[in-house]
Symmetry: C2
Subunit: 281 residues, 2 copies
Amino acid sequence: MIIDRLIDKINQMNNPTVVGLDPQMEFVPKGMSVLEFNTKVIDAIYDIVPAIKLQIAFYEALGLVGLEVYKQTIAYAKEKGMVVIADIKRGDIASTAQAYANAHIGERGDFCADFATINPYMGSDTVKSWLDNCKIYGKGVFVLVKTSNAGSGDFQDLIVGDKPLYEVVAQRTAEWGADMVGNHGYSTVAAVVGATHPQQLADLRAKLPHTFFLVPGYGVQGGTSADIRYAFDKKGGGAIINSSRGIITAHQNPEYEGLGFEEAIRDATLTMRNDLRSVLS
Amino acid sequence: MIIDRLIDKINQMNNPTVVGLDPQMEFVPKGMSVLEFNTKVIDAIYDIVPAIKLQIAFYEALGLVGLEVYKQTIAYAKEKGMVVIADIKRGDIASTAQAYANAHIGERGDFCADFATINPYMGSDTVKSWLDNCKIYGKGVFVLVKTSNAGSGDFQDLIVGDKPLYEVVAQRTAEWGADMVGNHGYSTVAAVVGATHPQQLADLRAKLPHTFFLVPGYGVQGGTSADIRYAFDKKGGGAIINSSRGIITAHQNPEYEGLGFEEAIRDATLTMRNDLRSVLS
């Protein structure tokens, strides 16, 4: 099961980090192509980071050329043994949902990753194709439960009966994944839970013992390792923390001045790893 | 304003129909490419239908080749004077939202359409980039308010205070579009409201006098013209009805046997137009 492979890699590397490859043009050094940028980042970190997350929006913004880079980056990261998370937040009905699932966590195809992030707003039936593909092709999903942005409360925090909407979604997510729990006790149907809400992280961790968390919001978005430790279980497992800009702009950060591109990226990654280790030990 | 252009075209053609170009492979006659299929559909209808809606999932499922067809289909439909709606249901935060908005309703680029459908689940701040692009580039959006699928009630119908969640989203949608109301009294910030819920259509129509509706669910999904008439205002305006499979599989429908590909597509389109006219007159 892909969730077991992810957890095994996290354990081997003792590093619950996923690096977000969201290449905005201003991050890319002059004279370097976006594909080169991505390749160099992967080269700098693949032996110390278990997974990479590609935010497809930044590739779509570059049109067909961008999506060619997206395809090649996925292929390269897989070649290097990394687990690949497609951050696509898709959600749609019936045959459309199936088309998206086949595109992103299907059997093969240009864009097929190991995991995809999905948006549950349209309802359970829109999630079914994704669950089917998880089973058929050994893939995984991260369901948007509680996001890290300031406005995430607008709808996600609205009270439904006796609990906020995101908790209803969280419970559904646990149900959807109940028959896909792997060897480590976590389901391949996982959840996105933002790092900017430590109390909510702690509540959800307690209520969803078999749901693995992808936690955005560390670093640039304001989440600290002290905040995100609530995402983890007692053994320090059950979550992976994303950092995008904090890592992939390290070469522009005065803190890493004097280092080459790859060295700066690697140093920032090690700093984050050590920060996470410090709260998990 | 793009909403005025859409409404003008609907009025000129006396046809509030948008045809969904969702080319699943089994719809495409042997020996025809997907691009040819799309081109022939557009040729068959562009003088009687104001707008076309492309469901990007079916193009993503074909990978880079599919997205090349997506790009060329948008260009061809624009060349033929049609309003192009990108059915992409994107939703994400901050710079990611901006990247998506630039990709799909930006100034230019491979995938730029006139309108995009967007998913509001992540909150108001995630909608802002779309609104900005509407203003800067004269584009429009359709916000997912109440979808047409059977499971749409799972979250959208949950009661928040004294009303269902979709009504909260509907009110927000009206607020987001309040400063972008065009000459016909409708905002360029529009809403998706499914045809399978006539009572909800009627309620929302009454509550949102300046919000234009895109209504999926007619035909194959079970919505009839009797159901969808509640989407319209007293003058028969304020909505456009989508049909995808009902139109683009007409050449496989025994009802249109003996007709050529383009004739069958056109006949099905005229049948739908006349059905809509019958309830609007």
